[in-house]
Symmetry: C2
Subunit: 340 residues, 2 copies
Amino acid sequence: MELSERKKKILQYVIDDYIQTAVPVSSKSITEKHLTTVSSATVRSELSTLEELGYLMQPHTSAGRVPSIEAYKLYVSELMVKEKLSEKELEYIEEAFTNRSKDVDDILKSAAKVISELTQYTSVALSARDSEEIIRSVKMFRVRKSEALLVIVTDNKLLKDSVIALPDGMTDDTLGELNQLLENVISGKTFNEICSMKFSETVEEFQAYKEVFFKVVEALREYIASEGEVVLEGEEKMFAHPEYSDIDNVKSLMSVVTSKDKLVDLMSADGKDIMINIKIGSDGYDDIPSDCSVVTATYLTNGVKIGTYGVIGPTRMDYKKVVSVLENVGKILESIVSKW
Amino acid sequence: MELSERKKKILQYVIDDYIQTAVPVSSKSITEKHLTTVSSATVRSELSTLEELGYLMQPHTSAGRVPSIEAYKLYVSELMVKEKLSEKELEYIEEAFTNRSKDVDDILKSAAKVISELTQYTSVALSARDSEEIIRSVKMFRVRKSEALLVIVTDNKLLKDSVIALPDGMTDDTLGELNQLLENVISGKTFNEICSMKFSETVEEFQAYKEVFFKVVEALREYIASEGEVVLEGEEKMFAHPEYSDIDNVKSLMSVVTSKDKLVDLMSADGKDIMINIKIGSDGYDDIPSDCSVVTATYLTNGVKIGTYGVIGPTRMDYKKVVSVLENVGKILESIVSKW
DNA sequence: GTTAGCAGTCAAGGGCTTCGAGTGCTAACA
DNA sequence: TGTTAGCACTCGAAGCCCTTGACTGCTAAC
C-alpha cells in the first residue's frame, strides 16, 4: 500500500525528530513543530495507522512513537533529504588530505579520522584487496646482506610489506637478473592471473634461484588472499549517544568493533555497483547487535576498488549526515588516487 | 613506622582477596580463609590500625576494608609474591613469536596481543624512537618514475616509511651516486648525530641533487622527532572487570586509551634503568583517571630501546600476574631482537 | 594481647505511592 | 468522510519507606 503524502510527511517528521532527540515522538510535538494546521488528535489517528502498517512502534502504551526498522529503510530510500555539508566541513575534508604522504595506509587512516570527526560516529576503514588490480611493477631491493624488501606497485598502491630471505652468496647481479625476470613475467598482469599461473617453464632458465622467485609469487598470493587492513577511529564517540549509556549495548558493539573478522564481514558490500550500502538493525546480519546500523561506501578508481569506508552506530543514526560525508570523502579520495 | 609481621600478612591477605573478588574484605573472611588461629575481633583491631596508618579504607561504616593507593604501592614493592606462569602460558608466549616476520611492527602487534590475552587487561605497545640508535644503512629505491622509497636499516629495525619525490630527469646512475653519498655520510652515525650535523660542505660536490639529499635528512629527523607507533589490544577486555560496569569509568578510561598523546605520555617511563614501571591511581598523573593503574616495561637490546609495553586497568589490578607476563614477554622479545 | 557479645550503621532491595506525559476512544461538527 | 475536543486510562519514572543482613566498634572479661 502506498502511503498518502501526509503520512509520509508525518513519518519523516517522526524519524527526523527521533534521530535528533532519541526520545519517542508524541503527536503533540508534531503539531507544534511541523504540522501546525491540524490538531494532535488528527496526527494521532495517522500515527496509529502508521503503527498498524509496521512503520512505528510504542515502547509502552503511554509513550510517543519510535520508528521501526522498516521505517528507517523507507526513510533512507525515499524520505530522507540529503544534507549539504557546510563550507567549513568541506574545507576540513580537503585539508585532511592535502600534504599527506601518498601511502594507501596513510590515506586509510586520514579518511577514517575525517569520517569519524564529521559524523561523530565510530568509523571503520578497510583497505581493499582487488584481485583484478594490475601489477605495474614487482621488485626486490636488498636491505641487508641476506634480506630483500619486496615492493609491489599497482595503479593505486605502493606495497612494501614482505621481507624475503635471500640465499647465501646471491650477488647483486643475480638479484638484478631476478628482478628483470619478475618484471617480464609479472608486470602487467592482475593478481588473479598470477594466482592461476604455473610458471614451470618460465623459470627453467633460472634454476639456481627459482626458490626465491617462488617466494615472491607466494608473497603476491598471500597478499591477495589476506584480508585488508582495518582501521578504526573514534571508538570513544559512541559514548556520546544515549543508547550507549547502557553498558551492555557498549559491550556488544565493542565486541564487534574489536574483532577484525566481524568488521571485515560487515564491511563487505553485498551490493554490485551500489556505492553506498546501508545495513540496518539485525536484518539478517548475525554479527551486529540488533540496534545497530552500518553505513559503508566502497570507492573505486578506474574500476578498481581502493577501499571501503563506513561508520557503525545506533540504528537511530543520522543517515543523511553520514551519507553526505561519505559521498564527499569519496569524491576527494578518488580525485587523489586517480592522479597517481 | 615499620609494620609488624602480622600486620603485613593481614594487609597482604586483604589486597590479594580484594584483587581477586573486587569486594571489600571483612575481618571474618580473613579469619576463615587465612588466619584461622585468631578471632575476627583480633583481626578487626589490626585492620583498624592499618586503616589509621592509611593503608586501608572503608567505603562505608558497615563494609569491609579496601586497600588504599599506599597499600598497593607497598604491595607491589614488598608484599606481592611474584607468580610463576604455567607451562601452557609460557608455550603460548613462545608460539606467538615464532614464524613471525621480523618486522618491528609485527612484533609490536604480537606482543600487545599476547600481553592482553594472558593478563586479560587492555594492553598498549609503543614502538621506541631511540635517538642513540646507530643507522646501519640508508638507501633510496626507485619505485615509480619520480618516486623513491627510503629504507633505513638499524640494528633493531627495518624502516620503510617515507616515499621521496625525485626531480624529473634523475637517472638511475645519479640515484646510485646519491645512495653512495648517503652511505658515506650517514651510515654508522646515530640519529642524534644526524640531527646536529650541518652537511653544508658534504654536499658541495653534489649541488644538482642536494635538494633530494636534504629531503632524506629531513625524513630521518622527522622519524626520530615523531612519537612512536602505538598499538592497542583488548579494549573490550576492560568490560570484564566490575569497576567498568559503570559507564562513566569506561568513558574516562576510553578517553585515555583512544588518545595517542595521552598514551604516549603515560607510557614514558620516568625511571632511569628500571625496567618495570608502575603508575598507580591518580598519583600525580593527570592523564589517568584516579582509579586506574598503568604497568609498563621498557625493553632494551644492546642498550637500545626496542619498545615499551604495558597494560592499563583498574587500580585493583592483578599486579603479580601482570609483572610476570611482562617479564616473560620481555625475555623472549630480547632474545628475538638480539639475533638480528 | 585476645576474645565474646552486643549495639549501631548503612547499602541494597522490595514494595508502595505519586506524578505526568501521552494515548485511544467517543461524540460532535464541517 | 475527515477533523476536533474532551476525557478516561495506562504506564514508566522517581521518590519514599521499610526490612534485611553484613560489618564494624566498643566494652568488659579473660
